[in-house]
């Protein structure tokens, strides 16, 4: 009887060890896949719900900031950029030119800055995105999307991420608009391009 119990325990322990080994191997494979590219990494976020973002709202007066938790409406486009990033700067230059050409978007848009607050303020001193800029401070969310920044996120109902992609120039911005399926975004990109760079019309 004792022998049977011991045998059973040994058998259960062996099977458990085997299951653990398989789980660890699968985990390892997942990690390898996850690191195979920034876009692959953010693809996993499609269909997930964005958390309420803890942000500092960056007012017109750059010195004043207030921390708050924000929820986003359906149809919101969140653009995430960071200082000391060439692609972010290129993106921000284009965005700032569009917004200051008297062509405001007709959909909710937020430009979320990630990084050191002094650097963010320095960057905001160079590019005017007044009324759209927030400083994203929940590190958990930033970590998930870190490699893909600069990126854009389009939100569906209930804060579900419909589409997320790295963007670093006009080509990728237009590709994002196509992929997100938002006619409002596409139309704004076309209108604002004509307004900001009349020679392209």
């Amino acid at each position: 009887m004792v022998g049977m119990v011991v045998g059973l325990w040994v058998s259960v322990a062996a099977e458990l060890a085997l299951v653990l080994l398989i789980v660890r191997r699968l985990g390892g494979l997942t990690r390898l896949v996850a690191t195979s590219g920034a876009q692959d990494g953010v693809d996993r976020l499609h269909g997930t719900k964005i958390p309420p973002l803890r942000v500092r709202v960056l007012d017109d007066n750059l010195g004043r900031q207030r921390a708050q938790r924000v929820w986003f409406d359906e149809g919101t486009i969140i653009v995430l950029v960071r200082p000391r990033c060439v692609a972010s700067r290129r993106l921000l230059a284009g965005l700032s030119q569009r917004l200051n050409a008297g062509c405001k978007p007709e959909f909710p848009m937020v430009v979320g800055f990630v990084g050191d607050i002094q650097d963010v303020n320095r960057l905001l001193g160079e590019f005017d995105v007044t009324g759209f800029a927030v400083m994203v401070i929940n590190q958990g969310f930033v970590r998930k999307i870190d490699d893909a920044i600069p990126c854009a996120i389009s939100l569906g109902a209930g804060g579900v991420i419909q589409h997320v992609a790295s963007i670093d120039g006009d080509d990728s911005v237009f590709r994002f608009a196509e992929a997100s399926g938002s006619a409002a975004v596409r139309q704004w990109l076309e209108r604002s391009m004509v307004a900001a760079w009349p020679s392209t019309a």
Partner: protein, 318 residues
């Protein structure tokens, strides 16, 4: 003004089949210049920038980065996996290689010795002038553990990599440009990472890496500029100028097609516009083109340097 330029190959059509891939055959251990297949036949040339005339040239195995120190010119052989020392007459004096040398991209020379970026082994090595390794940093031992293709990347320091074939996608960073610097009171090595699109600072003592600049596509060539640094953002077809503290001040784009190298020179910025087969001079702002010379389409440029007066005289005389 005399420009010394390295061209990785003079047979780019044949060579590009393996561009940033794996070369079909590496020959190693033979003489310094003889052991190379035709596609790896590259050129080191001294060019009169006003006329475009090639004043002196030599055929070498895939010459990539090079550095001048005194009367010597040290050339990294990308696929020969060795450093070749030349004189002012471009004659080969000697060559040497250490075990981590693989897919060499950049060499820096100062009074202390040579600093070499070995892309194949994702490492930076420092050598004295007799070829003895003094210092080494491996990206794979400092957090860069995954190759561009998603596999585990690891470099074993006891292994000899000189005869190995390590494709670009099998490398964790493809680190390709290196500079010594002092940052916040600490000695660091600055490094461009091709796959990550970053410039990082590696602490010389701890080996810890911190990101100074990111968001580039396949960057190369980190160089000093009067206002700070100049970086070739090759894949984005741009030259990036940053301040001393790596704050981006300008992004220069002029219809370039793969900026392989860019350097600040007296009165302007010299750009190696690789796929347009031209070397272009812009004004200091990078807004107006001042002059350009072209070279054969089969040549693949890698690095440019301005010859000092002494070197120019030596090259013309010998």
């Amino acid at each position: 003004m005399m420009v010394i330029a390295s061209f990785l190959t003079a047979h780019f059509r044949e060579w590009r089949r393996d561009w940033h891939g794996v070369q079909r055959s590496i020959q190693i251990g033979g003489d310094a210049v003889g052991a190379s297949n035709d596609a790896n036949d590259g050129i080191l040339a001294a060019i009169d920038f006003e006329t475009g005339e090639i004043v002196r040239s030599v055929t070498l195995n895939s010459p990539s980065g090079f550095a001048i120190h005194g009367d010597d010119l040290y050339v990294a052989s990308m696929y020969g996996n060795r450093i070749v020392r030349l004189g002012m007459d471009f004659g080969v004096r000697e060559s040497f290689a250490t075990r981590l040398m693989n897919d060499l991209h950049n060499v820096i020379a100062d009074d202390g010795g040579l600093l070499v970026a070995c892309s194949g082994t994702d490492s930076v090595i420092e050598l004295d002038y007799s070829g003895v390794q003094k210092w080494c940093w491996l990206a794979t031992q400092h957090g860069f553990r995954s190759s561009a293709s998603g596999h585990r990347a690891w470099v074993d320091t006891s292994r000899d990599y000189r005869a190995s074939r390590i494709g670009t996608t099998s490398q964790a960073t493809h680190c390709n440009s290196v500079r010594k610097w002092r940052l916040n009171g600490r000695d660091v090595v600055l490094l461009t990472l091709f796959h990550q699109g970053q410039v990082i600072a590696v602490d010389s003592i701890t080996g810890r890496a911190s990101v100074l600049l990111r968001g580039m596509r396949n960057p190369h060539s980190l160089r000093r500029a009067p206002e700070g640094w100049i970086i070739s953002d090759s894949g984005s077809n741009a030259v990036v100028i940053v301040s001393e503290d790596f704050w981006i001040t300008r992004i220069i784009e002029h219809g370039f097609n793969w900026v392989q190298d860019a350097l600040a020179v007296d009165g302007g910025i010299l750009v190696a516009d690789a796929n347009n087969c031209r070397i272009v001079m812009f004004d200091r702002d990078g807004s107006h083109q001042l002059h350009e010379i072209s070279y054969p389409g089969e040549w693949k440029v890698y690095q440019l340097e301005i010859a000092s007066v002494r070197w120019e005289e030596g090259i013309r005389r010998l």
